[in-house]
Symmetry: C2
Subunit: 249 residues, 2 copies
DNA sequence: CGATGACTTGACTTCGCTCAAAGACAGTGG
DNA sequence: CCACTGTCTTTGAGCGAAGTCAAGTCATCG
């Protein structure tokens, strides 16, 4: 049934110096020196949030909340990976996003969550009561600005997801997902990309059948572009062809 | 080449009492009485924004800005319809969203727009300089909160778009888009849905080829579910089957 | 060591894509 | 006012890729 505590997949956030918590990462929308995601909170903001937050640890495969249930809390991930999905009337499941350390989830619609969120690895999360958060916003526009930045960033990610799903070829979609996952790996100088989720999750994220995902991985392996090392790691063998495939958009 | 000013398609916002401008509409994320979108700005907020805003009128088919160009302004649509899209390396074009009156666009990434935005109908827009807006945010958390609400709302729409594109059947995708368009029609008690964009735009939004869109419309017409009245209006003939198709998700 | 869930593989079907060519519409200019 | 022209749209034929169904294997855990 449930894997116990033996799950060693980390999926992000285990870099050498553990970042202060809670923290939020995003690429700001205004012009800035760097090009990658930056930390949005200052130390004092972090402390303010931590005062309001409830630290919660979830084992792998735990449902944090279900779609359409009343939304009391917003969550910031300290460590671990979750999936945010919706089960459709057709019986299909659409995974809207995989979320990692420094990501945010739980902003709802009319007080009800729109997606179900379930952990993939063990997760530490910071739960912020929505009223407390609104209170904070009213007093501190800078914190609110950070959340706004994050939402803009998340919207861009959703649009990128749209582009991924819009591709017709399964191999290309898979390559794009792998590139996403690599970005979330703190130590991606290594040749292997951590893949914490199951192939079935991947299928639901990419809008493919499970079999199509399996066949796409097989073809990528046959072409010598990448290979699975166990079920939760991928090694890129031919970087240039991999990038070319993922970039074909 | 370019249609001149004779374009009569409205596409939203021509309801009897013209709303005060600029205005933003969204479903707030906190629990609330109503279930539909509400106006986010108060009168005083509107006036504050209007003081900063440049009112700009664009003819149909005008490019407001191009992807990757420096982002100086954020826009709120007063009236009309635009498309926000990105041309991919493969030669394909992905339309990320159609935007209507009371919608927002132009929040960028690192000071550069991520999508190209082009008008479909004539458009009146309110351009807000990003620095002025940030200034406003720092002084008025309530305005900032409105923008945050809007971004959360837009994110939900993007996820809904993901669900649409995730469907395999062209007819179902088309039905879902038509339902979206109906929502944006101020007078949708009528049997006809305004469809301001071309079928080619629809194809790029749905992730289909133009021909697939045409065939889907044909099949819907043959089955007596709906029919095109001219190129920019659709009449729903069988509401229950239409809804069933769109809801099958 | 048996069970459960995750994964793999094969055969067949279906649906949308591509290419190609013709038809319909709207704004333009005479 | 009407023919002109470019765009948008429609339709057909053939192909390929992903979906579905059905077995069967592998891995992990009790």
């Amino acid at each position: 049934m449930m894997r116990k505590t033996s799950d060693k997949r980390s999926g992000g956030g285990t870099g050498a110096p553990p970042p202060r918590q809670p923290s939020l990462a995003a690429i700001p929308f205004r012009r800035l020196a760097g090009t990658g995601p930056i930390e949005l909170f200052s130390d004092t903001q972090r402390q303010q949030l931590l005062r309001q937050a409830i630290v919660r640890d979830f084992p792998a495969r735990t449902i944090v909340y279900r779609a359409d249930s009343p939304a009391e809390y917003v969550f910031i991930i300290g460590d671990g990976v979750v999936k945010s999905y919706r089960d459709l009337a057709s019986g299909r499941r659409r995974i809207a996003a995989f979320l990692f350390a420094r990501d945010l989830f739980g902003l709802a619609e009319s007080g009800h969550y729109t997606n179900t969120v379930q952990t993939i690895t063990p997760v530490r999360a910071y739960a912020l009561h929505i009223d407390a958060l609104a209170e904070l916003f009213a007093h501190d526009p800078a914190i609110e600005y950070s959340f706004l930045c994050k939402m803009v960033h998340v919207l861009r990610e959703a649009q990128h997801h749209n582009i991924i799903v819009g591709r017709r070829d399964a191999m290309g979609r898979l390559a794009m997902l792998l590139r996403l996952l690599r970005k979330h790996d703190p130590s991606h100088h290594l040749r292997t990309i951590p893949v914490p989720m199951s192939k079935s999750d991947i299928a639901n994220y990419l809008g493919l059948s499970l079999e199509a995902v399996v066949r796409a991985t097989r073809r990528l392996e046959l072409q010598g572009i990448m290979e699975f090392v166990g079920r939760h790691e991928v090694r890129i063998l031919d970087h240039s062809r991999f990038e070319a495939l993922a970039a074909a958009a």
